[in-house]
Amino acid sequence: MALKRRKKDLTFLEKIYIPEIAKGLALTFKNMLKPKFTMQYPEEKFIPPPSYRGRPVLVMENNGVERCVACGLCSRVCPPLAIEVQAAETEREKERYPIKFEINMLRCIFCGLCEEVCPEEAIVMSKDYELAFTNRGDALYGKDKLLTPVNQLQDRIDFLRNYK
């Protein structure tokens, strides 16, 4: 069995490794002085930019009423059928409202199509990414969990108006 020759034998300096170790340490020391990116989650929280697609939520006007008119378009467009809407009649000027609005967060894939299709700007992607459940029932988000005051969502709404 013939010995396979390396393309190039190591030089003496390379053989003693010390210059290479010094080079590596230099890089380490250089980065020690640079600004840090790692966050100490969950003590420290990441606040995403407005372009981020967290869990979809329903916009609640300042008077406590949802914008949603239960048209069902989000439910129709949702690729994994995560949204269930049941309409009912109200005395308000927009005569239709969702008596039930449920998003199954185990089905949702955060595609944002519901937000894109909504004719009322009533469902938007929030910055909430903290979703963990211990049973299937907890993953069904009803109106109580979905309704979010409009001022908390303003930067996403502005983002959509600029780029949608």
């Binding site: 239960a70 048209c71 378009l73 129709r76 269930e84 309409a87």
Partner: protein, 561 residues
């Protein structure tokens, strides 16, 4: 036959037909709002404008008679630009209501705005606002903003319901629909205007906001409100019937159905009081039991009476298949001649349009397949009298709420030693029954019924039960049905452990040591077609979607037709 040319295609027509009619007969639909096959021509919407060679101006296809050698273009640049202009005009004052409008998804204006609209409005002024949410009658809601003034609803009341109740008031862009002073839109056919209104101006108060139309599955069936047997679609979501709509059949109901059929014949299917398994009376109260246990109990009870002590009551609400097997069961297995069914007659209900005084859908069918007393046997009144006298000790009743119709029978039938009932809901009759079998409703099974003039028509299952599975049975599926799992609250809904009456009878006869080898309703029907002359030559294929006539001269006309 004379011919004319439409968009390069030769079209045959009959003298007196308009362009739009002749085109429709050959399968070409020229866009239209106000024209309706069964109504007079109004010609006000102008969407059907077409270009005709040698004519100076465009003409409306709905009122221009077709003529030999005419050359018509419905898709030429001129015709298209006219149609686009008409659409723009229609949309000037039309509100952007689609998200809250029930018509969305089946709206002609929406469809044509999509196919012919420019996508944006050049109208900068304030739109005209009219009254919204006006109840025109007990069942119909009007939205003035959405009305495109096609006058279909007015013409329907005048010409079809023959009860003029609606009219236009004001002119130009302020025109709107009202009922005549002191009148309501309350004729027995009023809800048909919600079907023919091309937009969401007239909507059903019964169905309002219950569902979006694209969420519904639709199944071709027959109304069970009276012996006309109007052809309908059963529209279902999450295993609940949400609305019925008429289905065109020129031999039965044309495009229409009555309000009674539309709102009163489906709610019991979704009701909370459905019988959801067999029940046996133990210690005075009805208690749930399994099927085998109930069959064994019914079989041993029935065996303890002599054949002349048992009477059978079939049903003008059950299918021919159900009644046929009941009749076989009574004559072959029990051997009794006491058999009849209860007539349901309401002289106030019938009219000279669709509604018939016989308010059960299948009286003629029940009679034709053998529900009548044998030679020397007792008819219904005879059975009642003998129950009173104590000569009849056991009654087997299929799918009829006898006691509700005749409350005086409650005391008499309470005296029975054995009262077996097939019922879909708990009611006055099941209250005094000893054994209750859960019967599928007309929306949960295959079967046939025969209308007052001897037309046999098919029922198809639209609501799943333990007995008919949506996917396996080939029932129509909505997107929700197709992709739902057992973890989704919106899939499959409330499924009940009910069976078609013929299947219950087949199970019971098995327990009594006599096997009927029917696997499906179709096999029962094949037997009917073989053994009953009026049904000779028929099968489910032949009956199809529109029904077929029985050879009825071989049957005596029932007294209550």
């Amino acid at each position: 036959m004379p011919k004319f040319v439409l968009d390069g295609k030769e079209i045959e027509f009959e003298q007196g037909q308009t362009i739009i009619q002749a085109a429709k007969k050959s399968g070409i639909t020229i866009p239209h709002f106000c024209w309706h096959e069964s109504l007079s021509i109004s010609g006000n919407c102008r969407v059907c404008l077409v270009e005709i060679e040698k004519m100076p101006k465009l003409a409306i296809a709905c009122s221009t008679l077709a003529a030999e050698g005419m050359v018509v273009y419905s898709e030429s640049d001129k015709a298209l630009s006219a149609r686009n202009a008409v659409m723009e005009f229609e949309l000037i004052n039309h509100p952007l209501d689609c998200p809250i409008c029930d018509e969305a998804g089946e709206c002609k204006l929406q469809d044509y705005a999509y196919s012919h609209g420019s996508g944006e409005s050049r109208f900068n002024e304030e739109k005209i606002h009219k009254d919204k949410r006006v109840p025109l009658g007990p069942l119909v809601m009007f939205d003035g903003d959405r009305c495109i003034s096609c006058s279909r609803c007015i013409r329907f009341c005048d010409e079809i319901a023959k009860d003029p109740q609606l009219t236009f008031i004001k002119r130009g862009d302020r025109i709107t629909i009202v009922t005549y002073p002191g009148k309501e839109l309350d004729n027995p056919y009023s809800m048909n205007v919600t079907d023919i209104c091309p937009v969401g101006a007239l909507t059903s108060r019964d169905f309002r906001f219950k569902a979006r139309v694209w969420e519904l599955s639709s199944t071709k069936s027959i109304c069970n409100g009276c012996s006309r047997g109007c052809n309908i679609n059963l529209e279902v979501r999450n295993n609940q019937v949400l609305r019925l709509t008429p289905r065109q059949n020129e031999d039965v109901n044309s495009f229409w159905m009555c309000d009674h059929g539309r709102v009163n014949t489906y709610k019991f299917i979704n009701a909370e009081d459905r019988v959801d398994s067999p029940y046996l009376r133990r210690g005075g109260t009805l208690t749930r039991s399994g099927w085998d246990e109930a069959f064994a109990a019914a079989s041993s009870e029935l065996k303890s009476y002599s054949k002349n002590e048992i009477a059978f009551i079939g049903s003008s609400f059950a299918t021919c298949e159900d009644n046929f097997l009941l009749s076989k069961f009574a004559t072959q297995i029990i051997g009794t001649k006491h058999m009849d069914f209860m007539p349901h007659f309401d002289s106030g209900f019938g009219d000279n349009f669709l509604r018939k005084g016989d308010t059960a859908p299948n009286s003629l069918g029940a009679k034709t397949v053998g529900i009548f007393p044998g030679k020397g046997g007792l008819d219904l009144e005879g059975i009642i009298k003998s129950v009173k006298d104590g000569q009849i000790k056991a009654v087997f009743l299929m799918e009829d709420n006898l006691i509700a119709l005749r409350p005086e029978l409650k005391e008499i039938f309470s005296k029975l030693d054995l009262f077996i009932v097939h019922s879909s809901n708990f009611n006055e009759t099941t209250e005094i029954a000893d054994i209750v079998f859960p019967a599928s409703t007309y929306a949960e099974k295959h079967g046939t019924i025969v209308n007052f003039e001897g037309r046999v028509q098919r029922l198809r299952p639209a609501v799943a039960t333990f007995d008919v599975d949506r996917a396996l049975e080939g029932m129509s599926l909505s997107r929700w049905d197709k992709f739902g799992t057992k973890f989704d609250s919106w899939a499959e809904g409330n499924k009940r452990d009910a069976r078609s009456s013929w299947r219950i009878l087949a199970g019971l006869s098995g327990a009594m040591g006599h096997k009927y080898r029917y696997g499906t309703a179709e096999e029962v029907f094949m037997d009917i077609a073989k053994s009953i002359s009026a049904f000779n030559g028929l099968d489910y294929e032949v009956i199809g979607e529109l029904g077929a006539k029985l050879k009825l001269d071989s049957v005596s006309k029932p007294a209550i037709a």
